[in-house]
Symmetry: C2
Subunit: 149 residues, 2 copies
């Protein structure tokens, strides 16, 4: 069986071993796993990232949340509309600065975050399943070096 190992995604042969291509394919697989896992909870990446930075560093203005989470101010607005509608965060005017809203994680939001943390853990395992344990650490180290430019 498996006489030849076929790549998971079709593409030009000249791209087969190229880092740009491999990264895009690997990230696509990762994104698919995330979309499935988070999607089952009705959540997208932006939602999780906002909940996480609220949990880690406390209430903040929307602009500050965007900086913490690496999300554009514009997209923060839309994501918070969603999160607020679900009762996962609350928005209140900042008494010290009338331009700002103070965004706070609710108890329901913290519960949702805990569940999503579990989903995320499971996805890491599934993503790295094709690698041996030492290879997983190698990959993480190499990607970190590649990214922390």
């Amino acid at each position: 069986m498996d006489a030849d190992h076929q790549p998971s995604a079709a593409g030009p042969q000249r791209l087969a071993g190229r880092p740009t291509w491999l990264l895009s394919r690997a990230a696509a697989r990762s994104a698919r796993l995330l979309a499935d896992g988070f999607g089952a909870a009705g959540v997208r990446g932006y939602d999780y990232r906002l909940l996480a930075v609220l949990d880690e560093r406390g209430p903040a203005s929307q602009a500050e949340l965007g900086r913490r989470a690496g999300i554009d101010r514009s997209d923060v607005v839309a994501a918070l509309n969603d999160l607020e509608a679900r009762g996962h965060v609350s928005r209140a005017p900042d008494p010290t600065d009338a331009r700002r809203n103070v965004v706070t994680l609710t108890a329901a939001g913290r519960r949702a975050l805990t569940a999503l943390d579990g989903v995320l853990d499971a996805i890491q395992v599934e993503l790295l399943a094709p690698l041996e344990p030492p290879e997983r650490d190698q990959l993480i180290a190499l990607l970190a070096k590649l990214v922390n430019v």
Copy 2:
């Protein structure tokens, strides 16, 4: 200097070392380099992939090109509209099957592809610059193993 190495993109601390996050950040950096390099030539990823499979495996129907390049039939139509307008490919009805177009790479298309191949080479180098040469091979091998599931 550089007492602490700051991540290239902000994000929740709990995501910092996670494979899904690192892959998404690394792929984002790769995509940015590609968008810059290809964008300067007015080309997107789909265009390059179609030109490449035409060069590698010869003229074909649009559906077949989609299969070769890993691009949805629907997106093949739009990308070929572009490529045809630039004179990089030609579309002609297939005499043996009236449902099909035979798409052929033009001389201009082949010239454009050669230039893009050079751009792509340069991008690989730039992308992997933060790694030592042996680490680059390790990363490629690990990503290939992760992707060829």
